[in-house]
Symmetry: C2
DNA sequence: AATCGAAAATTCGAGATCGAACTATTTGTG
DNA sequence: CACAAATAGTTCGATCTCGAATTTTCGATT
């Protein structure tokens, strides 16, 4: 029984990364208040972290979403009145997104649902462990992003 | 300007992981022969690595797909005659999946398209770097998977 | 042997995701 | 100024993804 490619450390690393990404996505999804999906939460999370008043294109780039994919998500958030969409004054092509009070409330509710898990995580691992893992992950991400 | 949560190493790690996963997915997707999607490739990759003759449930578990999602992908692969679906003799509920010769050819063609990038990667990083990154990633994945 | 509960797969509906084509606006250049 | 190229966003079609409900088959208990 010879060693297949699945034994190579690089393949294993990508498998683990795929698995972790999936676990994070499903774990958070299941904890979100009903009516909120994971991408919707991600958008609101960015609006909350980065401050409102950013454009759809900035959001799409920050979250690795396509413009068309983001249009879809923004339309749904807008339909639920969780975001407010303004037309940019200086540039007629651009729009600017804001969280509404309802949006902030839904976001706070989501974070509250996730917080216990996050705190568990910070008990299970040290910040040093995360810090030590970062350089390689950043290098890998940069390398993958630079060579199209 | 206080430190937001985005500065925390743990948040950064998850951001990098999300980014890497996305880059791998899109990079491979764009290199695949026309007509093949990334999930379809993943299934064929597993069939090729793990050997044929495995059941849909085993595939779904290995690839973190839901059974219903896999049914969809298998139906498409079957429609293109890239896989062969048998009814298990011992167990009437189960099916067993095989790559057809066409499937093997399509898989070989996909791997050939991806190989240069993989070789570049093995030039850009050492196997030791991947090996050193593994324990933390495995621990993180296990922890996330154990606490539902 | 009859039945009940678990397991494997499918169907269905809602939402996400991508890429290509399209519209509208702005910017740069002659 | 006119017009070409670039930019921001949307629309559309195909596929993926999930969860819930359903069907079929198996296995164990009685």
């Amino acid at each position: 029984m010879g060693a297949g490619p699945e034994d190579h450390p690089d393949v294993q690393v990508f498998d683990e990364i795929r698995y972790i990404e999936h676990l994070v996505r499903t774990t958070i999804s299941r904890k979100l208040p009903v009516g909120l999906t994971y991408p919707q939460f991600e958008v609101m999370n960015l609006l909350s972290r980065r401050g409102d008043g950013i454009s759809p294109l900035e959001i799409a780039r920050a979250l690795q979403m396509t413009k068309s994919g983001l249009t879809n998500t923004l339309q749904r958030l807008h339909a639920r009145k969780l975001i407010h969409v303004e037309h940019c004054e200086n540039d007629g092509r651009r729009k600017v997104i804001w969280l509404t009070p309802d949006g902030r409330a839904a976001y706070a509710q989501s974070m509250a649902a996730i917080r216990p898990k996050m705190e568990d995580l910070r008990d299970g691992f040290t910040q040093k462990e995360f810090r030590d893992a970062l350089p390689f992950l950043k290098a890998l991400r940069t390398w993958l992003g630079e060579k199209p």
